[in-house]
Structure formats: C-alpha cells, structure tokens
Point group: C2
DNA sequence: GGTGAAACTTCTAATAA
DNA sequence: TTATTAGAAGTTTCACC
C-alpha cells in the first residue's frame, strides 16, 4: 500500500466522524461543499489504508455503576515472567489496559470497577498470579480526558 | 428518568454496535429475530437513558507515526496546586488522559508521541508547569487492550 | 482527483396487534 | 413490547468531467 497522506478535506471528514460515526455523508458533503460520493470515496480510502480501523460506541460506565478507576503497578520476581503474567492479567475481567513498562514497575494496568471492594477483589486476583511479588495501587480521584478530536488536531497540525 | 435495566436483547444489540456502529439495524434485527423497528426503539431508549453517549472512530495512531506511549507520574510542591496543574496539563497536546490520584503521585497522565525525542518535549512541558517538582516516566514497551466488548460482557454478567 | 443522478438500501415513525 | 408498512433519507455506483 502506497504511503497515503491525509489532506485537509480528509481531516475535516474525520473531525465530523470522530464526533459521531453516524453523521450522514450527505451532511458532511453539504458542510464541506463537496458531493456525498466524494465523502464516501475518501472514507473508504482511509479505511482501506488501515487508518480508520472501525467504529465504536461511547458508553457511560458510571451510569452502569462502574465509576471506580485505578492504576495498578505490578512487580515481578523475574522479568522473564512478563509475558506469562501479561496473559494472566488480560484474562481478568475489569482490567481495561495493560502495559509492559520501563521504570519502576514491570507491568502496569488500569482497572474499572464498581467500588473499592470490587476493586480489592480484582487487585487480589492480580496479586495471586504466579511470579507477582507485589502490586501498588493508585486510585483515580478525578479523570480528565483529552478527547480523540484534540489528539487528531495535534497530530494533524504536527504532520502538516 | 426511571432506572432502566438492560435486558439480554439490549445487550446483544450493544454487542454488535460496539464492534461497528454502522451495523445496519436490519442486520441486527435479522440476527436477533426481531424487527428493525424494535432495534431502533431500543437503541433510542439506551441513548435517551444516557447509557449510550455517542460513537467514535477507531483510528490507527501507529499508522500515523504515533506509536510511542508513556505514563508520567507528576509530583507537586503542594496538593493545593492540583487543580491548577491539571488544567495546565490538559492544555498540552499529546496528553491523552490525566488523573488526580492517591498514592505515590499527585497526578498521573498518559501521553502519545511520535518517538522518544517528541516524548521528551512533552515531558519537559509538564516539568515546566509551576508547582511541579518532578516527574517520573514509565515507557510502554507493549500495550494490550481488553476491548470494550469484553468489559461490557463482564459488566453484563456482573449485573445479571 | 471530483460530480450528479440513478438504483438500491436503510431509517424512522405511525399504526396496529 | 413487538411487527408491519411506507415515505423519507442515506449510501453507493458509474458514466462523465
């Protein structure tokens, strides 16, 4: 696949779809002063290039009662156990992301839980994995997200 | 708004839309053996209840050349500066999430950058904020994401 | 590259069960 | 709560710039 460069029109299309993937191509076309067919072709090109990999819903987990977020730093006996432990961690429900990291911790993960007691349960499951010597928990008191739109803007400004 | 409980059909609809928000309601209807109108009504109800808050694209940032992920722990002179520093951090491009946390760090954030030199630049911007005494960087060598679908399944199993 | 229009598919809301 | 229906709206293709 040839290296494919996004232009300003692609960027504007992305901008609208990032906010709402169901934005009608006809609406996008109207706003950008191009035809709906063109929007369709450009979106398809971005999909084919693997740049857009799909779409997903934004869900309100707090409304479902899962408002507890924590980060868990994991220490291992030996670094050679990293892959094994990563696999075990990824099997634990409510772990949302896991990273192998440099620095203080060997592995670092994020969990989303109902409350402290639910979180405790998840942390114990991590502690119980063979090779884990101990964990360190950082509870999130407040989360602020710089949304995708802003990141895309930064990237786009950076590229051009 | 009355407390609204998702049933198994809602769950299956979510499941398909989480994978692809543009899945045709007629396809969902066919698969679940209900009518497209019903799918429409249920999705609308979940939106009205605030449970579905929107939709967004999945983008491949690595393809754009932004494959460097790191977590930055931030130490402050005084905890009373937390809000001020959080606001400054949120103004820095390429910071994707920031948390006020208990434990070792006062603030904890995630950045996405092109490479180490780009990351260094971002970290220096954080270091430069008034009130920040020092930062600690953990570079992600490998990321593994437990996708939304799995989290939803865990939540759904947990609720019912 | 892009357009515009035709052909096709999907959405949506009202009605009825 | 669900099904049916039909008009409105959106998507996709294609011949032609």
């Amino acid at each position: 696949m040839a290296k494919f460069k996004l232009d300003d029109t692609d960027h504007k299309i992305l901008d609208m779809l990032i906010d709402n993937t169901r934005t009608a191509f006809t609406d996008i076309a109207k706003k950008l002063g191009i035809s709906a067919g063109t929007v369709h072709v450009r979106v398809k090109k971005m999909e084919d290039a693997g740049f857009i990999t799909g779409s997903s819903l934004k869900l309100d987990y707090e409304k479902l009662g899962y408002s507890f977020i924590a980060y868990i730093g994991v220490f291992l006996q030996k670094t050679s156990q990293t892959q094994f432990v990563m696999e075990r961690i990824n099997e634990i429900p409510f772990v949302t992301v896991a990273h192998v990291t440099t620095g203080k911790f060997n592995i670092f993960c994020k969990i989303r839980a109902k409350d402290t007691s639910h979180a405790k349960n998840i942390i114990y499951q991590i502690d119980d994995i063979e090779g884990v010597t101990r964990t360190e928990t950082m509870i999130s008191l407040e989360e602020s997200i710089n949304d995708k739109k802003r990141l895309m803007h930064s990237i786009f400004k950076d590229i051009n």
